[in-house]
Symmetry: C2
Subunit: 544 residues, 2 copies
């Protein structure tokens, strides 16, 4: 039996576009003598459709798309992800479901049983849990269908949740010959290796091969990395689809495949995730061109590299906006970077508007000293310039703040935070350096001077990030302890040998910056716990 | 038996402050010879704590607070809302619970059975549903305890959800003598009357009196209106606590009370909700002073009135920022308004920075005509001025856009959208006029000229809102159909006798503005469906 996992890149709720991709895949599969075609979770509507699921007309349109898929399934066994109405009793009126189709007929549905409702997942908001596992007979094989989370608890990889059921345990009694899994599992750093472990555990428990078909592509803040998987009945990984692009994974179940361990470079993967995130955000919304401020620092340099890769160098515009506080490197290093990347660079000095604002506000601020106000004015003037270019020339502005800054509020609302997409808001400063060195692995693209200079916002004389922040290494440790793992300040202090005073101060700063992050541009989620997607904290609160 | 509903205003997660209020209430209750004291849902931690619930140390601290409450409960029967650990099996490790206490002893818990997971509610993210209803004996009465949603399905008032259980139906068999309900039910327009209907249905089904204790006060975007209720065993409303402030509702169950229907003015209530929302956002985060741009238009005039009421006129600063396009009324009407309110007004012309930006950008924009870019630059210069005042003088900026504008994106990101709190982002233009006329009911506070002029952003020569938007009345109809009720474009067109082309155009504009709203300041939720809290749509999507 020849089986195929169709790893597609859907646009959320573009039913026509997604359905066309599915129909074309079936056409190709028939030509390749494929017997069974597996698509990803919610392949018809893309994951996640969010509150569009509340529109009856949307659910009806999904059903119409399914009918088109059924019609062209001649000679094929097809399993495709979608949402469907729950017509029986239950708390919620929808199921997250897989339609099982054979040769022009809809055989039935397998509904998702375990509904993640934590972090970026809100499935209990919309869906009723599926009630039972079924087997489907095809060509003398009993086929089991599971949807994403259904196999994760079995391997011990769900967060903050202990489902009452374990669909894999229930399947053991039914002895399937093949396990299918439709997945829409968002990328996070080093996640692909976790997915292999999850699949291995189920294949081993069921003593049958497993084909997992993953969504690929980015939808808003979530990046899906692909890497669809095939494991044999011993749980050994035998075949993997490509990461970060559409691919078709074909396996002949009658052939014995040698083991083929997953080999990937986590930093290269992170880079590819960010590139895909930028590309899909632009292209899926009909934009081609991006612009960004180049400060001469490492964050904007990294974002420029990602943007050039994602959009093409001809579609990226860098703007260097020096002020009285800018080092000479600010412009020179940006010019060098733009030259290395082949992107256009323009220079707009902010001195004149800065002077005008200082004069304009002087009568109001008499007797008050210089403080962060004047720093923010500079950042916001740059924001106005970038947004004006966006408005007039049709570029989306890329904002360039990293996760460590975003954590502590070391950024200016409506200033450097302005933009349509925050590219590295979930990338720590440490990872920013790792990515930059990876980009420079063969030749100097990011000028060495940029990598070597001490980080500075250059908003006052001789400013350094280290004047206001502890070492980024310490920030990252507190981020990991508090934001990712919800440890107490005491636990974080002990684990990392830090003073409790410092840890408490940083946690306070994380909470105090909540109001800024609430107005941040959407940011690509690439870690276990991002600030912008999947983390919900009150702004006004009395805990910290 | 004398019973008391303690309608308190908690700060989310300020365990010390909230617990102190509870302890003081118990002290007073004992002096007043009260037998039973009922607090609101999650009274100890305030509603909603969001992801602070994921921190073990937080849950432990709530437990410590409970121990303090138990200790001072001598001679009292106390029912208090909190969260607690689920130590048995279940999908989630917490319960949303009521602790039942008598005379220094914790008798047990009643866990919330129906967990709302729609709109602004995410309870399945954190909580395991309670399994059964209990009765508690006290002074020859059998007392039933329910938590908020537990009684709503019985009256047919839950959205998008049909729970498998109905706790009120289950209680019918147990024949309680008194039903208690701990509530944290957010305000929305005309909601208090709905709450009376919900309570009446349960009291009638159980043939027993009902005491509902409501949270009051605002936490971030949610406003809680109070109006705790007592109904007799026929479901007749006999007593109501005040709206929009702390109050104690005392009832002697041995007395027969006459009916006392809820009388309230929906527009006055809406005004009070907005005032409370502003006041608590500021005071609970330690701020006193607010500033806002006064354009001479009705939106900013309304927000100025709300701010003066919420913060005191001495704590409000108006800034009029005329440009070459401002009508003379822009400044004159703002001066009149400021005078009527007794708030300080300062004038900062944006002409100089506007001219500088036009010159600065001219070389980049050669050959391109004037468009929305120049309008946005003006709005963003005003944003910089307001934020500079905020930074230097310690004011929170109030942003003044209304819901109809926010719906269609008729607003400038980082310009008029800048601010710490968006006061009327969930108030339609129609309601803006209704509120303004209500404010002027006794004397002219908002100058009549402001009420009578045609709405204009004044960002280009002779601009009127009606150049870019259909009548606000039409916008509001589409908002109600599409945003509140998820109707299809066809249904909306037919129901309101509008052309399908116009309806589709407006729905497209609603979706296209999603990226702007994502970066809006938090906004007070006062309708059935706000844009900022409780509505989750993808930015990039192929549906519309």
């Amino acid at each position: 039996m020849r089986i195929l996992a169709a790893q597609l890149n859907p646009t959320v709720c573009d039913l026509e576009g997604n359905t066309q991709k599915i129909l074309q895949t079936l056409e190709r599969a028939r030509k390749q003598k494929i017997d069974l075609v597996l698509f990803a979770e919610m392949a018809i509507c893309g994951y996640p459709p969010e509150d569009l699921l509340l529109h009856h007309s949307f659910i009806e349109a999904v059903q119409s798309s399914l009918e088109r898929v059924v019609k062209v399934s001649q000679h094929l066994f097809v399993v495709v992800g979608l949402v469907r109405r729950n017509t029986s009793k239950g708390e919620k009126p929808l199921f997250n479901s897989a339609a099982v189709i054979y040769d022009g007929k809809l055989l039935g549905y397998q509904d998702k049983i375990l509904l993640p409702t934590y972090d970026v997942f809100d499935e209990r908001r919309y869906f009723e849990p599926g009630r039972e596992v079924h087997l489907w007979d095809f060509k003398d094989k009993k086929i089991a269908v599971t949807i994403c989370e259904d196999i994760w608890q079995h391997a011990g990889y769900v967060e903050y949740t202990h489902y009452a059921k374990d669909p894999v345990e229930e399947l053991i009694l039914l002895k399937p010959d093949l396990l299918l899994n439709l997945s829409a599992s968002p990328y996070q750093f080093q996640k692909p290796a976790v997915r292999v472990k999850v699949c291995a555990k189920s294949a081993q428990s069921l003593c049958c091969p497993l084909l997992m078909c993953c969504q690929v592509g980015s939808n808003d803040q979530l990046v899906f990395d692909g890497y669809s998987l095939f494991l044999d009945g011993k749980g050994t990984l035998c075949k993997t689809a490509k990461g970060f692009e559409e691919d078709e994974l074909v396996v002949d179940l009658d052939e014995v495949l040698p083991p083929c361990p997953l080999v990937y470079d986590p930093i290269k993967d992170l880079y590819q995730a960010l590139v895909l995130g930028v590309r899909d955000y632009f292209h899926k919304s009909g934009f081609k061109k991006g612009c960004l401020g180049l400060s001469g620092g490492i964050d904007s340099a990294l974002v420029a590299c990602i943007a050039a890769e994602a959009l093409g160098k001809e579609n990226v515009l860098g703007i260097t906006m020096p002020s009285r506080y800018s080092s000479s490197g600010s412009v020179v290093d940006s010019e060098k970077l733009a030259q290395n990347l082949g992107v256009q660079l323009i220079k707009v000095s902010i001195e004149k508007p800065f002077g005008v604002f200082l004069n304009l506000l002087e009568p109001l601020f008499q007797g008050k000293g210089v403080d962060v106000t004047e720093e923010n004015i500079q950042a916001r003037i740059r924001g106005i310039i970038l947004m004006a270019i966006s408005n007039k020339l049709g570029h989306i502005v890329l904002s360039t703040g990293n996760k460590s800054e975003m954590a502590l509020g070391y950024c200016t609302l409506y200033g450097d935070m302005a933009g349509g997409l925050s590219v590295i808001s979930d990338v720590t400063k440490k990872q920013v350096y790792e990515l930059s060195r990876w980009i420079n692995r063969e030749k100097e693209i990011i000028p060495l001077a940029v990598l070597e200079k001490a980080p500075s916002a250059e908003l006052r004389e001789n400013q350094k990030d280290s004047d206001s922040l502890p070492e980024y290494d310490i920030v990252d440790k507190v981020l990991q302890g508090y934001v990712e793992n919800c440890l107490s300040p005491q636990e974080i202090a002990e684990k990392n040998n830090l003073s409790i005073k410092l840890v408490l101060d940083l946690i306070h700063r994380i909470h105090r910056a909540e109001y800024k992050r609430r107005q941040a541009a959407p940011g690509l989620r690439v870690s276990k716990k991002a600030f912008l997607a999947g983390r919900r904290y009150p702004i006004v609160q009395g805990w910290m």
